[in-house]
């Protein structure tokens, strides 16, 4: 049902403004801040990807950083074989999506916390594999040819995350697919019984949520020109994806965006003015704990317009502990 009402018109104007600003920003700010903004964009994309899986489908993954790292390595390897960058990045995305589909088939059978632990385990296993394989450079990492045009990377990131957010928005909020995905989140057994091909949907969502991190990983690799297991496959990447989305608001479009901006800018500002990374951890830990305790729907719920999920609203049923036990 598409009817363009005032709210939609207003939204479109906002979006158009944002797009214009986003396009001209590189010419207005210094290259240092541009790098920071590029970083923000990347994390928006990463958080949003994680949100697709965890927020909309309810499958919390603690190993999602692995797709980012794999994307980085695939891109690095492809480029070392002479494949041009954009194609390498696309190959990386395809690879991570396919890989997710394969890994997802057995893993998605697990529920709740087991799924979380399993993803954590396989992400670490992947890091270990990369450390011992000969063609990844192992602990020495890999270098990529240097392409030092900051604007290029900014636009690459921008395009990718626009793609991510747009696709996420369309699929989860506008298409019927989104309803099916949310049905799985709310009550998987019922969804299955009602005839949804739950397995297929789960795997598609998992693959989709892995596709974008793969590409982002590829852009990152080319941008930084040097990758190694601790910089692209470290648990901290998966951790940040989780924290940003939870902080911002699970299962909403604006949540991951807000969370990414707040957390990443917070980190960078802290770094620029105080230069202390361990204190950042304290703040992040506090933020997570406080948000879960007092603001479980995330920061986004503080902005009533953005926090609205769809119409019609699906009321969250309070589940008794009984349901948890029977999973």
């Amino acid at each position: 049902m598409e009817y363009v009402d005032n709210t939609q018109k207003r939204n479109l104007i906002w979006i158009a403004l944002l797009v214009i600003v986003a396009t001209v920003i590189p010419f207005a700010i210094s290259s240092f801040w541009l790098r920071i903004v590029t970083g923000v964009l990347m994390w928006i994309g990463l958080a949003q990807s994680w949100n697709i899986l965890a927020g909309y489908m309810g499958y919390v993954s603690f190993g999602h950083g692995a797709f980012f790292g794999l994307g980085a390595y695939v891109t690095a390897i492809a480029m070392s074989l002479g494949v041009p960058f954009i194609i390498s990045a696309l190959i990386a995305g395809a690879f991570t999506a396919a890989f997710a589909a394969v890994i997802g088939y057995p893993t998605l059978r697990l529920q709740g916390a087991y799924f979380a632990i399993a993803t954590w385990a396989f992400a670490e296993a992947i890091r270990q594999i990369v450390l011992v394989l000969p063609f990844t450079g192992g602990a020495y990492g890999m270098r990529l040819p240097a392409m030092l045009n900051e604007n290029f990377f900014y636009y690459m990131m921008l395009l990718t995350i626009i793609g991510t957010v747009a696709i996420a928005y369309y699929l989860m909020h506008k298409a019927k697919f989104g309803l099916k995905v949310k049905a799985i989140r709310e009550e998987e057994t019922a969804a299955n019984v009602l005839g949804l091909d739950v397995t297929r949907i789960k795997i598609s969502v998992f693959a989709l949520s892995a596709f974008f991190p793969g590409i982002l990983g590829g852009i990152y690799a080319y941008w930084i020109t040097y990758i190694h297991p601790d910089s692209v496959l470290a648990p901290v990447i998966a951790d940040q994806m989780v924290v940003m989305t939870m902080l911002g608001g699970l299962g909403t479009i604006a949540g991951p965006i807000i969370g990414a901006v707040v957390l990443f800018m917070g980190n960078r500002l802290l770094w620029v003015f105080w230069g202390d990374t361990s204190f950042y951890l304290v703040l992040v830990g506090l933020a997570v704990a406080l948000v879960i305790l007092f603001l479980p729907s995330g920061l986004v719920s503080l902005v009533p317009r953005l926090g609205k999920k769809d119409k019609p609203k699906v009321d969250d049923q309070p589940n008794s502990s009984v349901t948890e036990h029977t999973k």
Binding site: V60, L110, I117, F122, V284, I292, L293, Q317, S321
Partner: protein, 290 residues
């Protein structure tokens, strides 16, 4: 042949260490159904507590064990309601929220430790450090042996507590059906606090041993969270017998892979094994998990 037996013994002792960390963890899970992502950080906090006590008094760390136990039990007793709030706060996926909350806690603890204590490596020395004894030509490091003995004793104590005492009965009842247990006059929320307190006390005590065997620094927690997850998931969440078996199994894998295959594959194999167990036997190798 000597190498084989030495490796075997080393494996058993490594398993003992795994069990020491996991014993409390599996209890916590079995009763409270909370997966504490911060278990490694509690180990770290316990290790640091002992470190500072030892630093200022010069008394052997192992003597502080009872003090650590009491200290962390008190902390646990008052911390648990916060956790409880998270669980009851949520409408759905309460357990995941609890996991995420403890995850946030682990970051908080690690960050605080780094900020307060700095990045330096520290070491704990006890009277057992560096000593070993030989049996049939096999060297047995005294400290690891002590840690294993500690783990075994603790686990036996648990099983006794759980299955032979009234408190244990109340705990098991509350674990199975919290609402019905309440109807039977069992104060489940108090039980939950007691259990969590015991879990923290035990985990912190294992920190004393682990700090002495390895080293003490704010990042050490991750390694032990790993151990705990391995053992508890492989053994079946909540099953103490499973934890013992899984701990031994993982210790043996660790030891034999290190010696006969190559050090670089240890973690790879361990993580893959963990992943496969989750896929094939999510209730643990004994099938008694939750």
């Amino acid at each position: 042949m000597d190498l084989f037996f030495q490796t075997l013994v080393n494996g058993l002792l490594v398993g003992g260490i795994y069990i020491a960390v996991a014993a409390g963890f599996t209890l916590c899970f079995g009763v409270l159904h909370v997966i504490d992502f911060a278990v490694g950080e509690w180990v770290m906090l316990g290790a640091f507590a002992v470190f500072w006590l030892n630093f200022f008094t010069g008394v052997d760390p192992l003597i502080f064990l009872p003090l650590i136990m009491v200290l962390f039990m008190v902390v646990g007793y008052y911390f648990q309601p916060l956790l409880q709030r998270v669980i009851t706060n949520q409408q759905s996926n309460a357990l995941l929220m609890a996991l995420a909350f403890t995850f946030g806690m682990s970051i908080l603890f690690r960050g605080s430790a780094l900020t307060l204590f700095g990045f330096n490596q520290r070491s704990l020395t006890t009277f057992l450090s560096g000593k070993n004894f030989e049996i049939l030509g096999i060297s047995i490091p005294a400290l690891r042996f002590g840690a294993t003995v500690f783990a075994v004793l603790v686990t036996l104590l648990f099983m006794f507590l759980l299955y032979k005492t009234k408190l244990g009965l109340a705990v098991r009842a509350a674990a199975e059906r919290q609402d019905v247990a309440g109807l039977m006059g069992i104060d489940s929320s108090n039980i939950a606090r007691i259990v969590y307190a015991i879990y923290l006390g035990l985990t912190a005590m294992s920190g004393t041993f682990l700090g002495s065997i390895f080293s003490v620094h704010p990042d050490m927690g991750l390694r032990y969270t790993l151990f705990a997850f391995f053992v508890v998931v492989a053994g079946g969440l909540g099953s103490i017998q499973g934890a013992i078996l899984a701990g031994i199994m993982l210790g043996l894998i660790n030891s034999f892979v290190a010696v006969y295959v190559g050090g670089q594959y240890i973690f790879l194999i361990l993580f893959t094994v963990l992943y496969l167990i989750l896929l094939v036997a999510p209730k643990g190798i004994l099938g008694k998990g939750w």
